[in-house]
Symmetry: C2
């Protein structure tokens, strides 16, 4: 097994409108956000995805410059890249999909390159569970850690296939509403317990501006969100979150609950940068200092003098 | 100045309906919840409020048994106690007021007893800002800490008077939506900064199930909510929160930001008990052990090994 993080996910053109601006045909896609976020840890990252012949060469350069291996990205001659157009409401938690053109994604069969069949971490980014399953089946040996990200669209329309994938992963990363929908539970604890019965030993529930939680059988951890002064574009925040989490774990190369906690803190910090600019812009030029400062901020945000906790106060 | 916590607030009969049950004419009111919560710290608490002749003697006993001084509670002969009837939606964050009978509250002029005119902490619970102002004006010397709790109804209808009160307090405790409404800001940080310009040096923003935040000029602290398995009745959770905060501070008798952080943790724990039962039921019989366990749980919920945070990981 090699110290590599393999990411399966979309690469896309996005057109995005938020109350704070708009951008047309910019670089997007789950694998893109994941890769850029994870690359901050200077690890070996490979992407399995598909693009059309129209995919901008500058975008390829931008990604490969971050030492992300794109051998597994298939370019379809004459094909057009997956396109998504969305509009966010004044309440940025609500968005309408204006247009989706699957294009080359429609018949996508992932092809994992030979030298990427034994990654230590496999991250199945948010896309069709059939694609996730196919990539998983191409592994030469089971990765030490398999992380799955998904969303309501796949829960609603491909539940059976999704269940097969969920059953085979170690970590399911999902947002709060989707966790409740997936499990028909009323509380996040209930949902997390239920999901663990489906297979994953670890469950991450993302709550957007309200932080994220990590569960296993014995423990619960809560990571606060960094309180950003203004959100310009929430697109990709979830991808960035799970990508940073995976990137951190690959860097320290240990996958215990204690280490995952810190992974959540890094994920929270990196996702907070992502939403402050349109598309992947913020992720393209983050300094170590900037990230480290935000990590320390998050650490201080929930720290208090635990010696003040005293049975005799009551 | 004496080591006393004076609470100004309502005492009430509540009829409550939630998706998990209903209760008629039970003990309620901000001052009641505040007093019961704060009494867990075994401090001197006095309440200034008003009740009708119909107020159940058992309720009086229940409160005074907790060493809460009710000298400042006026009983109006022939009057009826303030009554509130509300119904919660499936989403417990939304409630409809079905009926409000102000009764004795309508012409209430608070009368602070002589021996309660020099409390170290004055907590102005959620009620008419004119009443809050009148109580504040009856202090013989300025309390070392004045805490104000308010809500949208007073913001919408009595803004001018409310502003006068806000200007004179040290801590404003308010929920997230109300903070944004009060300040016309888009983020909680923006709101907290704005509120500090109005007078309060400290701002507490309650986010319900998403925890609470404490701000002053230099610092921000986030206290997670305790993840309860089921919520039966959210009534009084905010009162319980601010009451516990005040109770903790009175007990340790120091009012720094560092101490307030821990106050928020105790507040979070105690409020979580409150919502697990109808009305004040849970608050009537909490053991030290139960509270202490939840405090430790909250401590662990956000704790991680900060030695794992390392500049060279990036």
């Amino acid at each position: 097994m090699s110290n590599k993080l393999l990411v399966v996910g979309t690469m896309a053109y996005d057109s995005i409108e938020t109350p704070y601006g708009k951008a047309e045909n910019i670089l997007g896609g789950a694998a893109t956000y994941i890769g850029l976020a994870a690359s901050n840890f200077r690890i070996n990252i490979g992407i399995v995805s598909v693009i059309g012949e129209d995919f901008n060469l500058e975008y390829i350069e931008l990604i490969t410059k971050r030492k992300i291996d794109l051998t597994g990205v298939e370019e379809i001659k004459g094909g057009k890249t997956f396109f998504w157009k969305g509009r966010y409401h004044e309440n940025l938690n609500i968005r309408d999909t204006i247009e989706t053109k699957l294009n080359v994604l429609e018949n996508f069969v992932p092809k994992v390159p030979l030298n990427w069949k034994t990654p230590k971490i496999l991250l199945l980014g948010n896309l069709h569970p059939e694609v996730q399953l196919s990539a998983l089946n191409q592994m030469n040996e089971r990765p030490e850690l398999i992380i799955l990200d998904s969303m309501n669209f796949w829960i609603d329309n491909f539940r059976e296939t999704l269940d097969k994938v969920i059953n085979r992963v170690d970590v399911l990363c999902i947002n709060d509403e989707e966790a409740l929908e997936l499990t028909k539970q009323k509380t996040l604890i209930g949902a997390a317990n239920e999901i663990q019965k489906y297979g994953p030993k670890y469950v991450i529930i993302k709550k957007g501006e309200h932080g994220a939680m990590l569960f296993n059988k014995e423990n619960i951890f809560f990571a606060p969100a960094f309180p950003v002064k203004s959100i310009k574009d929430p697109t990709g925040a979830g991808d960035c979150f799970v990508g940073s989490f995976a990137g951190y774990l690959m860097k320290i190369n240990k996958f215990s609950f204690e280490k995952m906690k810190v992974g959540l803190i890094y994920a929270s910090a990196l996702a907070s940068f992502s939403v402050e600019e349109f598309g992947t812009q913020a992720l393209q030029s983050l300094s170590k200092n900037k990230i480290h400062n935000r990590i320390n901020y998050l650490k201080d945000l929930t720290s208090f003098d635990s010696k003040l906790i005293n049975f005799d106060i009551l």
